[in-house]
């Protein structure tokens, strides 16, 4: 099944939840909870707490990130908030403000 993509022109304000993965290109305020992987693409602005399995951030995120899998902060990403995960990868050039908890 293809992933749900929140397009570039979209603005969501509220709670978004799902079982599968999610790709975000637009703007989101609120709360996100998915069972699959989440990918925040370049140019997107997310002001929300994120709960997901694998997390990949290339855009801007303000909020806490809780992951049950890997967290991957790409270069040029901007994250303000706490990260809780079991595995993390931070690329050269990523901007991060917040605490990181790595629970095994």
């Amino acid at each position: 099944m293809p992933k749900t993509t929140i397009g570039k022109s979209l603005f969501l304000d509220g709670e978004l939840s799902g079982i599968d993965g999610l790709v975000i290109e637009g703007k989101i305020n609120g709360r996100i909870e998915v069972g699959g992987a989440i990918s925040v693409e370049k140019g997107s602005v997310v002001k929300a707490d994120i709960k997901a399995n694998n997390v990949k951030i290339s855009g801007e995120v303000k909020g806490n990130i809780t992951s049950t899998g890997n967290v991957h902060y790409m270069e040029d990403c901007s994250v303000t908030g706490d990260t809780t995960t079991s595995r993390i990868l931070i690329e050269d050039g990523a901007t991060i403000k917040g605490s990181v908890h790595i629970d095994i």
Binding site: M1, G7, K8, L10, L12, D13, L16
Partner: protein
């Protein structure tokens, strides 16, 4: 104008549920569940598995799923045979196919013209009565 806008399509798949406000300038397809407020300048499709409780503003709209809420459309509103809806529709062109379930008020551009003189006349009469 529409040609300049990139033909992006956002699909909220079956397993996705959303609660809140959604505003956009692209084609939206909903197969999952949604509650709140939905606005797009492009077309909107609610698939058979889609359940929407929202007030909607859009261009053309095709409803094959369930909708509870009002529609304000600038294009054609189509309720297919599997569509079920409760709420008001404001649109110039409305198609309700055989088999569809619908409960609500329909307001087309022509019907709003018909209604307006009727609404004004009782007010004038009441004013005359008070003068007497």
């Amino acid at each position: 104008m529409n040609k300049k806008v990139q033909q992006n399509i956002t699909t909220l798949h079956k397993d996705i549920s959303f609660n809140g406000k959604l505003i956009g300038d692209e084609r939206i397809i909903i197969s999952g569940q949604m509650e709140g407020n939905l606005q797009t300048s492009q077309d909107l499709t609610i698939e058979k598995s889609g359940i929407v409780k929202a007030d909607i503003k859009s261009s053309n709209l095709v409803l094959s799923g369930i909708l509870v809420g009002n529609i304000d459309s600038k294009g054609v509103v189509t309720i297919t045979k599997s569509g079920r809806m409760i709420g008001d529709i404001k649109s110039e062109n409305i198609i309700i196919n055989a088999g569809a379930q619908y409960k609500g008020t329909i307001l087309t551009k022509a019907s709003s013209k018909l209604n307006s003189p009727n609404k004004e006349s009782p007010r004038k009469n009441s004013r005359l009565k008070t003068k007497r």
